[in-house]
Subunit: 462 residues, 2 copies
């Protein structure tokens, strides 16, 4: 139970309307978008508006030894924003100003509560865009996205969030306010703490301002869909596209289970007998797009696609992408619980990985649909299950662990874009060994010796 003095001090700093203690309200801040996670109702939910307020909050938290859980829209998929001890849940949603779009320097400066799509809308007025495109652009915040180094659909050509963050303002656990990086492409002053904090899952400090790089909007784009009766042929097509020096903006795959489920959900006319479909979009100058699209079409044919569909209009393009965007919602409605994984492998290993997932599904008698970002090796095996069925959940746990083992053994990684959070913390030694986990802990403790910010995520106190 929160001491009255602590509560009073928070109210003093933030105002009464930004300090919530009603149990019913607090309940809704004890979850995020991750299935089957432990959680705890916090003592208090607060909404600061300034960096200075966040600094004061951290000092109060230190004084009263309270954990602080920063939070954006909580679309997190690794339990990264869930409170696991009593304490303070701090929403960044009131810090939602787009401070500046600087068209001359191709940068934007935003507060952490800005929704990604809102930044894109503001950038578009200058003919610019912010390339990272996680599925949740319309709900997720920049702060959450930077804290997780979100990936999404455009990783292959454009990279991911970490490739766009140029600087930030941040509050340390002790309340120190730190500024790092800036608007220059080149900056080697000090360790690259901008990069260290990006993807640190809110465990090293509270991000209160972010400078990101923007790109000019490409003048043209073209989408294609290729249907395959064999997963290896689809894999070969991916390799052949890259080998021919085409780097598509987006190159996605859906397996048979996903195709059937999406078709059942949308009746879009997808080929339900296909083993895999590849969805590809190229963008850039219009002549380049024409040449690349023609080359991709030729490659898909050569690699044995049984059907190829090239979008001729924006409507046809949108139809192709609608199928992909519906993959997760369609899968999610088949069973009560959706365990969405993101084990990631070098792109040349995609066919191996898809086949391994199929074997694991059979071994543990589970329904797993796989779709994802083939171009960057980031697959989403999606286990459709029911968290109330204890026996089935045990099989799910075993399957997940085996998926990780396969990914790491193929030169891949535990998480391509969803983060470690609580969900995967115990698997870290698989990828880093004990010496690597020790180094992670050393870094955490250097920045936050008391495990005050977002405790229980990524690394845990011994």
């Amino acid at each position: 139970m929160l001491k009255a003095e602590a509560l009073n001090e928070l109210i003093q700093v933030l105002g009464k309307e930004n300090v919530v203690t009603e149990h019913e309200e607090l309940l809704s801040y004890s979850y995020d978008a991750t299935a089957a996670m432990p959680h705890q109702t916090p003592d208090v939910f607060i909404t600061p508006k300034t960096t200075e307020q966040v600094s004061e909050v951290m000092k109060i938290a230190t004084k009263y030894d309270l954990p602080v859980y920063p939070r954006g829209s909580a679309t997190n998929l690794s339990g990264g924003t869930i409170p696991i001890e009593k304490g303070i849940v701090m929403s960044m949603l009131h810090m939602n100003q787009i401070i500046e779009v600087d068209a001359e320097n191709l940068t934007a400066t935003v507060q952490p509560g800005v929704i990604i799509q809102d930044l894109n809308d503001a950038a578009l007025e200058h003919g610019l865009f912010y390339p990272p495109d996680p599925g949740t652009v319309k709900t997720a915040t920049m702060g959450g996205s930077v804290s997780e180094s979100s990936g999404g659909l455009r990783g292959l050509k454009y990279g991911v969030t970490k490739h766009y963050v140029m600087g930030m303002k941040l509050v340390r656990a002790n309340g120190d306010i730190i500024k790092w990086g800036g608007k220059t492409v080149k900056n080697v002053t000090g360790y690259d703490l901008t990069a260290l904090f990006t993807g640190s899952e809110g465990t090293l400090g509270v991000i209160t301002e972010i400078i990101v790089k923007l790109n000019p909007v490409p003048e043209a784009r073209k989408a294609l869909l290729g249907v395959f009766d064999d997963i290896d042929k689809a894999g070969n097509a991916i390799a052949a596209i890259i080998r021919n020096k085409v780097i598509p903006a987006t190159l996605e795959i859906m397996d048979n289970i996903t195709i059937r489920t999406v078709e059942n959900f949308t009746h879009a006319g997808l080929p339900v007998d296909a083993e895999a479909i590849l969805l590809c979009e190229v963008d850039g100058y219009k002549e380049a797009v024409e040449r690349e699209a023609a080359l991709v079409e030729k490659i898909l044919k050569e690699q044995g696609a049984v059907e190829i569909n090239v979008a001729k209009t924006d409507e046809e393009r949108d139809k192709i992408w609608l199928a992909r965007r519906n993959a997760l919602p369609a899968l999610a409605q088949r069973r009560p619980t959706t365990v969405l994984e993101d084990a990631t492998v070098p792109r040349s290993k995609i066919p191996h990985m898809i086949k391994a997932i199929r074997q694991i599904a059979e071994k543990y008698d589970l329904l797993i649909g796989t779709f994802g970002h083939a171009g960057d090796g980031n697959l989403h095996p999606t286990i459709l299950t029911d968290e109330n069925n204890k026996e089935e959940m045990e099989r799910v746990d075993k399957a997940v662990e085996e998926i990780f083992q396969v990914a790491v053994s193929l030169g891949g990684t535990l998480s391509g874009e969803h983060g470690i959070g609580m969900a995967k913390a115990k698997f870290l030694p698989l990828e880093f060994g004990e010496a690597g986990v020790k180094l992670l802990k050393d870094i955490k403790e250097a920045c936050d010796p008391d495990y005050r910010i977002n405790p229980g995520k990524m690394v845990r106190r011994d």
Copy 2:
């Protein structure tokens, strides 16, 4: 003086031929390419060949409390590789294997002693290239380049070294061997220690293997040169190019002093009365290059260039770039000592910065030539002086400090690409404040509590 036991243990691990103690030889390892720095002759110079040997060396160094200075080709420009205490200088030049170029995954895996150009030659056989292009590609090593997060000529369009490092193997001060990252574009497992170690100037660990991203070689390129009689017009041209959504591969500037000096040196026919010349290269698909080059030409005209030269052949292109590549050697031959700075500002501030540098040169009665990477705001004010002239060097020190102050006040940074090393460590509070410097120290001490690896660089023990 090194204890005999320590020396014997080093010889046991590395073999006698890889452990040098002759004073005359050691002398040459007490410098790097930075002017006017303190230095110390080391006790011993060693050349390991494997990660395991590096690990054993770090354990011996710990046992006998010896500092270790890792070193590539020592082209460093911030005193980053100079030993300042007795101890071990460790050359990575014998670890020079290109382990793999993986064309399917667009990656290369190299040892730290590989020369950048050698990687490019190997990549070119697959139609690929490694975009970071510091002036020293033919001498600098990948290990040094990654440790400094080198920039160079292609920063604007392609980014810098940190945008290409995907993973690494590293030995901690205590001898622990750590592997981080890998071949996947997406990887959010653990803190992004690959990014933290990149640009950490060899102070957090010894890099023994590096995975980098490669790009397909663009099919066409075109170079242009624009001559300006007014520095503001050149600045406006830079802004107009970006505003028109052209992102050149390279966009360089030379001021009048540099132009005169280069012309005097090369007799290439440069316009010695020009206030500035801009050198621009666009690359990509041939149609895109044609359109972009035409647009840049039109912009240069509109912004008042008094002369424009578009390269029509490879020879003409090489001639344009020869002038730029000769800027530093030409300047360097005018006086005995060349103090090459790299204060960096947002590109929109380039005209401000060039004018401020000119005022500082007048104020301190110094000869400063300025050239550099206009597209990414990374200027090289080059002070031509004589380190034996104590009075003049005092003026140089004051001028350098003032250049940094102006850069930071314009939203820039102390160093765009040369690093902090010894040369700029004392200026860090100017950019980060005391709280920021404290955080740097906390990170250093978490990784290397005894300041064993490359001590005296970036952060110093209290």
